[in-house]
């Protein structure tokens, strides 16, 4: 494994690991706040239990999010010093703002998680709101920085160095809105469906359980609207990619030859050598329609670009297909659930729907990993699109396979532990009194 590949892999592993906890850090506070607010409004203590149990699991995930995020902020320098030397003055700004968002989040999180008995219920709810707002803000800032890597702005390149630096223009680059919108929705959709899926699964065996019923409704209220909006937001993203990064779009679609009225390629295996995609379903005019909202529009194919500027086509194409497939599934299930609820029927009574929700539990997170694979692998060989190549940004330090393996092992270990702890503490816990109190169906059970 070359040092460059090791560095890229280490970055990929660290980000793929961090994003799971970051997403939970954005989504869970919203769920907890909704539950706590319902408790305050209805006096139904099951909602309070819900908020408390969720906050317990979230504490573990938050801590891992914080430490893995710290690793990332060092890794940018440990692995990509040349990149940061170039980019720091330009996009450091959103990172600094993110630093403040983290700070606010960590402060109010401490208050929220440990302050149940120390502050008034009202202040407690507001602490939760502060966590949710600052968590979302930190996600937005860091994704804006990433969008800049895809769509650099806010500087002029003179002799390979940036001059006339304008950090505000850099932060408000032309991909920032699309990416931050898509990512924020993704966080709500993924967390909402993960939680809804788990409780839907448990409801399959215990349909009368009041605790799970309430959990399901809170999670769907947060997750379902986001999941419905996600394909729309994805379309906005795709059109921006078509304008700004035509190579990436061509890779996503495995679109080898420039064509007007280009078809949409679904599935199939792209053969980069032969320059064609085997076994795919082609929908006539589909790609031109999606990318430019015009069936006749010309879509540039990979043949327009030199080979050394191609990313890895099969990976980008497959990852994009996975994201879109999962996104479509989640949106459809959300619409179904919305329809059932709109008709005033009991969602839980519909076993097929429950099964569909349960099946969706991991899908948001898989879609997120796939989407980031599209964005990041699709940007290769550039670390800053069109400006700096990844190979020119990597550290001169040799032997990078060692830290790569070290962090991979560390993260595998942490991942297993976290999963086991959540299982042991939150999902199973059969003997604990807390669980029994919740588990016994109460008078508030719905008929």
């Amino acid at each position: 494994m070359s040092d460059l590949l090791a560095a890229r892999s280490q970055m990929a592993v660290s980000l793929a690991f961090h994003i799971i906890f970051a997403v939970v850090g954005i989504g869970m506070p919203v769920l907890m706040v909704v539950a706590e607010r319902r408790w305050r409004k209805t006096g139904d203590t099951i909602y309070l239990d819900l908020a408390k149990r969720w906050s317990k699991g979230t504490t573990i995930l938050f801590a891992v999010g914080a430490v893995s995020g710290t690793v990332l902020s060092f890794e940018l320098g440990l692995l990509w010093p040349q990149f940061m030397e170039f980019a720091g003055p330009i996009i450091g700004m959103p990172f600094s703002l993110e630093g403040f968002a983290f700070f606010t989040e960590a402060i109010f999180l401490g208050i929220y998680l440990y302050g149940w008995d120390r502050i008034s219920p009202r202040s407690h709810l507001w602490a939760g709101v502060a966590v949710a707002v600052s968590g979302t803000a930190s996600g937005i800032f860091v994704v804006a920085a990433n969008a800049w890597m895809n769509s650099p702005a806010g500087f002029d390149l003179v002799g390979g160095r940036p001059v006339n630096v304008n950090p505000v223009a850099a932060m408000l680059n032309s991909a920032a809105f699309q990416q931050t919108l898509h990512m924020t929705l993704a966080a709500f959709a993924a967390t909402g469906f993960a939680v809804a899926g788990i409780h839907a699964f448990l409801l399959l065996f215990d349909p009368e359980n009041a605790f799970h019923r309430r959990a399901l409704s809170v999670a769907l209220i947060v997750g379902a609207p986001a999941a419905v909006l996600q394909p729309i937001s994805g379309d906005i993203s795709a059109r921006q990619v078509a304008r700004q990064q035509p190579v990436k779009l061509a890779a996503m679609e495995a679109h080898f030859k420039t064509a007007s009225g280009a078809p949409l390629t679904i599935g199939g295996w792209p053969d980069s050598k032969a320059g064609e995609t085997h076994y795919a379903i082609k929908i006539p005019y589909g790609l031109s329609l999606l990318a430019f909202h015009d069936p006749k529009a010309e879509v540039k194919g990979l043949n327009e670009f030199p080979r050394e500027d191609w990313p890895n086509i099969p990976i980008v194409h497959a990852a994009f297909q996975i994201m879109v497939a999962l996104g479509t599934y989640l949106a459809l299930v959300s619409l179904w659930a919305g329809w059932v609820a709109f008709k005033g029927r009991d969602v839980v009574a519909n076993r097929r729907l429950l099964q569909a929700i349960a099946l969706g539990a991991p899908m948001g997170f898989i879609a997120i990993e796939a989407g980031w694979t599209v964005t990041e692998v699709g940007r290769q060989p550039w670390i800053i699109h069109g400006v700096l190549r990844t190979a020119d940004a990597v550290t001169p330090m040799p032997g990078l396979i060692v830290p790569f393996l070290l962090f991979t092992l560390l993260y595998c270990f942490l991942g297993v532990i976290v999963a086991w702890l959540l299982y042991r503490q939150i999902i199973r816990s059969p003997g604990s009194t807390e669980w029994t109190r919740v588990y016994v169906p109460t008078v508030t059970r719905r008929a």
């Binding site: 317990k56 504490t59 573990i60 801590a63 891992v64 914080a66 430490v67 893995s68 710290t70 902020s73 060092f74 940018l76 320098g77 440990l78 692995l79 010093p81 940061m84 030397e85 170039f86 980019a87 720091g88 003055p89 330009i90 450091g92 700004m93 990172f95 600094s96 703002l97 993110e98 630093g99 403040f100 700070f103 606010t104 960590a106 402060i107 109010f108 401490g110 208050i111 998680l113 440990y114 302050g115 120390r118 502050i119 502060a130 630096v165 950090p167 505000v168 550290t395 001169p396 330090m397 040799p398 032997g399 830290p403 070290l406 560390l410 942490l414 532990i417 702890l421 042991r424 503490q425």
Partner: protein, 343 residues
């Protein structure tokens, strides 16, 4: 002396946030040290006090480090690149320590079964709390010694190991450990109402205070050959004498206050002492950020960036400082029953 400009102001903010990390984050690491060294009949209760003191605030305290990092790469990007390249190994190891400490602490808190697994988390948390400050100190020591130079053709060891694997850097690592342990013990005397536990931490604070003295002496001794720049700064500049006097006075006041059980005074004095040691290093280097070649002026980002960061800091500070105050207000007023675990 040149005129103070935007870059100097941001360098000062950077130093302040590192200073805050040393005080607050450092005390959290020190807490882990005392967890590791807990002994005697009240061992488990000592650990409980430490855990209760850390629980709600360690993540917030930790963000000072992140703020310092972010400020470094935004305002002084070449410094960040240089440190990341030459100090790759100690910084990577430090990260492993940070990851293990944070996660093990949380796992231990939430895996409350009192079984072997929980003990293992405790040990991981405690040992990571010892190793991480040493590595932080080693990295600072390497910078102070002027060995973090530009990449040059040369062997792996010469480029990536020798800059930080020196007796001087290691002695700074030891000093960092001693300082953090000292701070933690002093702060912990105020975290409990139980007089016995308070007495335990008082004795530890006195011991650590002595360790700080010896570690500082060692650093000063080794700096003679290893870090001439810092040495000269600390000995010869116009501010050297007042600084040493102030540090000495706060050290003596701190120890005396501990002796006479004036714990609030001891807390102030200890915080002051540690900050003064930190600023002694920072001022001795000024205006160099990474000796021998990277200065504030030649690494600063364009003013357009610096100005925005400063505005951002002002707005952020306006949100942050009241929030921080609130956090400490909620948790650092000792409840009557402290000494036993919460729920």
């Amino acid at each position: 002396m040149h005129e103070l400009g935007l870059p100097d102001i941001l360098a000062a903010v950077l130093a302040l946030s590192l200073n805050a990390y040393v005080l607050f984050g450092g005390a959290d690491f020190g807490g882990g040290v005392w967890d590791l060294l807990a002994f005697g009949p009240r061992r488990e209760r000592q650990r409980a006090v430490i855990a209760d003191a850390l629980g709600p605030i360690w993540e917030a305290n930790h963000v000072w480090l992140i703020l310092a990092i972010v400020l470094t790469f935004t305002c002084f990007a070449p410094v960040y690149a240089r440190l990341g390249t030459i100090l790759h190994i100690p910084l990577t190891l430090m990260l492993v320590g940070i990851v293990l400490r944070g996660s093990a602490f949380t796992f231990r808190t939430y895996d409350t079964r009192g079984d072997a697994a929980q003990r293992r988390w405790g040990r991981t948390f405690a040992s990571a709390s010892v190793i991480t400050p040493v590595l932080l100190g080693v990295s600072i020591g390497a910078v102070a010694s002027g060995r973090v130079r530009p990449v040059s053709p040369g062997g792996f060891v010469a480029q990536f190991v020798q800059p930080w694997l020196t007796p001087f850097a290691l002695s700074v690592g030891l000093l960092a450990l001693a300082l953090f342990a000292f701070l933690a013990a002093v702060f912990l005397t105020l975290e409990t109402r139980d007089p016995e536990l308070c007495e335990d931490f008082r004795r530890r604070a006195l011991g650590a205070g002595v360790a700080v003295f010896f570690a500082s002496a060692l650093v000063l001794l080794l700096s003679n050959n290893a870090a001439p720049l810092v040495r000269t700064g600390l000995m010869a500049s116009s501010w050297a004498l007042p600084l040493h006097l102030a540090t000495g006075v706060s050290a003596v006041v701190g120890l005396a206050a501990l002796w006479f059980r004036r714990f609030r005074l001891a807390r102030v004095a200890a915080g002051l002492q540690v900050s003064l040691i930190f600023w002694g290093w920072a001022l001795a280097q000024y205006p160099l950020l990474v000796p021998p070649d990277l200065t504030i002026a030649n690494t600063a980002s364009p003013n357009s960036t610096l100005r925005l960061v400063l505005i951002g800091l002002a707005i952020g500070g306006a949100v942050l400082l009241p929030s921080l105050w609130y956090l400490f207000q909620v948790f650092k007023t000792v409840p009557a029953d402290s000494g036993a675990r919460g729920p």
